[in-house]
């Protein structure tokens, strides 16, 4: 159960984007979401292929967190369809999402400070033996997952999460998400509160998830981080997906323009492949 997926063949960094015939793991088509009078998402389309990291960019309030929660089952979209492994699915709760293999690392992490690393990683999915908590088995599995992800520097996986540094907490939250045979991991601002070294370690961790063949979506304000790990980039502007394509199509300048105006050089996004085809 706990083993992180083995890397499938051909899961390559920056490989030819989903377009090349392969069905993306997760496909969003025409997702609308509003809260009362506030329309947060307008007909959003997005592809999240396996073995690739998709960076989701957007200004504050663009709808990145809402989109994440729609995929994670915490919100229900008003309109639109989610396809998982090619099949239309309804994700009505976080339980539904977990059952599909979708796990989320939220912006605020949501770890219980008073519980230790093992207890946090198994929260809500404790293993029992004779009706009582099977601490030793859970500890072994947690240790195994952490070492697969090479999160090795905590003193003891029995220490309370309160005693961890920000980067270690983030690593625990990620490890918690990938321990359950997950296929898609959504990370909302995983480096927002971290220093340089800790950010580095989280980015390494994201790279390792890709190497294990998972589909990853990373939300970040920091374009350095996005360009560092993302194979694909998607930009939300006021609830609309204004650009989505291989990272090679973008540079910092254009991403910032999409984020702030919805266009670059005054023109809407067109994938480089499509543009070449026309030219």
């Amino acid at each position: 159960m706990t083993e992180v997926n083995e890397a499938p063949e051909g899961a390559s960094r920056g490989g030819d984007v989903a377009g090349a015939g392969a069905e993306p793991l997760l496909k969003l088509r025409g997702i609308d979401k509003h809260f009362g009078p506030v329309q947060a998402l307008y007909g959003v389309n997005l592809d999240l292929p396996a073995g690739q990291v998709t960076g989701l960019c957007g200004d504050n309030g663009a709808g990145k967190s809402v989109l994440t929660r729609c995929i994670a089952g915490a919100h229900q979209p008003d309109h639109g369809q989610i396809y998982f492994e090619g099949k239309p699915v309804h994700v009505r709760s976080t339980r539904d999402a977990s059952a599909l293999g979708i796990e989320t690392v939220y912006q605020d992490l949501a770890l219980a400070d008073n519980l230790d690393i093992v207890q946090n990683m198994f929260l809500g999915r404790e293993q029992l033996r004779y009706g009582l908590l099977d601490e030793d088995s859970m500890e072994l599995k947690a240790a195994e997952t952490l070492s697969t992800l090479r999160v090795t520097t905590v003193r003891s996986i029995r220490q309370p999460v309160a005693s961890l540094s920000g980067g270690q907490r983030q690593s625990v939250a990620v490890a918690k998400a990938v321990m359950w045979n997950s296929k898609l991991v959504l990370l909302d601002e995983p480096t927002a509160a971290l220093g340089v070294v800790q950010t580095r370690s989280v980015l390494d961790l994201i790279n390792r998830l890709r190497d294990h063949g998972l589909a990853v979506m990373v939300i970040s304000h920091n374009l350095n981080d996005v360009f560092e790990v993302a194979d694909r980039i998607a930009v939300l502007y006021l609830g609309r997906m204004v650009a989505e394509g291989p990272a090679a199509d973008f540079d910092r300048q254009s991403v910032v323009e999409y984020m702030t105006t919805g266009t670059a050089n005054g023109r809407p996004y067109e994938s480089a492949a499509a543009a070449n085809g026309k030219g």
């Binding site: 949501a110 809500g124 999915r125 072994l140 999160v151 003193r155 220490q159 309160a162 005693s163 800790q198």
Partner: protein, 451 residues
Amino acid sequence: MTADPGETPAGTAGAGTADLTLDATVAAADVPPELTAQSLRQYLGASWLRIRSGNSGVLPVVLAIVIVAVVFEIITPEHAFLRPSNLVYIFGLSTVYMVLAIAETVVLLLAEVDLSVGAVALIGGVIAFKLVQQPGPNWPWWAAMLAALAICGAIGAFQGALTSLLRIPSFVVTLAGFLLFSGILVVILGGADSTVSLNTSDPNQNTIYDMVQGLISPVIGWIVLAVVVVAVGASQWLRVASRRRRGLVAPPLGLIATRIVILAIVGAAVVIVCSVNRGSSLKSVTGIPWVIPIVLVVLGAWTLVLQRTRYGRYIYAIGGNPEAARRAGVSLPRIRIVAFALCSATAALGGILLGSFFYGQYSTNTADPGQLVLYTVAAAVIGGVSLFGGRGKAIHGVLGGLLIGGIAYGVSLLSLGSLSTPLQYILPGGVLLAAVLIDVLSRRGGSPAGV
């Protein structure tokens, strides 16, 4: 990018290795010593570091118990405080606070509070006493007790539902409950000056009377103690062996042995104190009150529920971070309602013990729900249960209850006349304030992640 103050530049691990060496001193203080210590010596060192940083577990309350015992022994007339007869009396009185404090601990762990425990406990006690009356309902003692626990459990569930479904602060709901049930208590007692008492010549009623007043002979006490020590020792030993076998870090055997020895010494001290003749030369009184094993069973049951079951784990999770628990699929209202119900049912047992402690008699004089709830919350917090939720164990309620019982009885021994009653409030109040200060300060100092 924001700089992280908790970060050390030392954490430059080799490429591809996630994070990071902790800031050694801060972090070490937050890690339970048995996790890292490989020898008794290291354990003591790590423990000392933790105590200095405010993460001290049961140590402050144990220290406070010792200080209270020594001080009262010195200042009571004829140095009577530590006489076996007084100690046994204190055990009896304290067990009431112990059981109530364990009940309160469950609710405090959720970062809620139950101010109605005192009133509800007394209602439970009076219900049980009324149901065994003869002439009257004449129920068997166990049926009367179960009925009391069930009725109080329902009261708790109702209060829990109000706080968790309507999100009214538990402080307000249970304050209203305290007033409401204090009034109802007088009604079911049968008026302002009424009493209800047990007839000890009826074996059925005498069973309840004996819960605190009844004695186990010292010989049986020694046998029970031996069985308990061997059982605890064997289970700890097996646990360490099993963890070693599976390649997990286990506490050093020296530490386990030390703990077992301490348990045996404390147990033997209790049995010895209870074995001394505390009657007169004409009629000797020796033996261990039944209530001591009863409290140990309550302690064991709650420790099992809180530490070893999924339900207990969710109580801690909700107290630590309700949002994390919710996202993990935990039903917060269900856990909270059940916790309030179990708290009130456990309190009802405390109320029955209280009536038994007062020689099987309940009156509006012995039953002061206000003082009882103050002592209960004080006992839990003094024992080391955090008011902010998520931190504390059943054993903390037991130790806090002993401390409060010791103070309450010590003050009454001081023959201070009119000063005695105010001191019954002032002393526990002062100790409670000190305990809350420790709680707040350790929370502030003990969290390097800054959350």
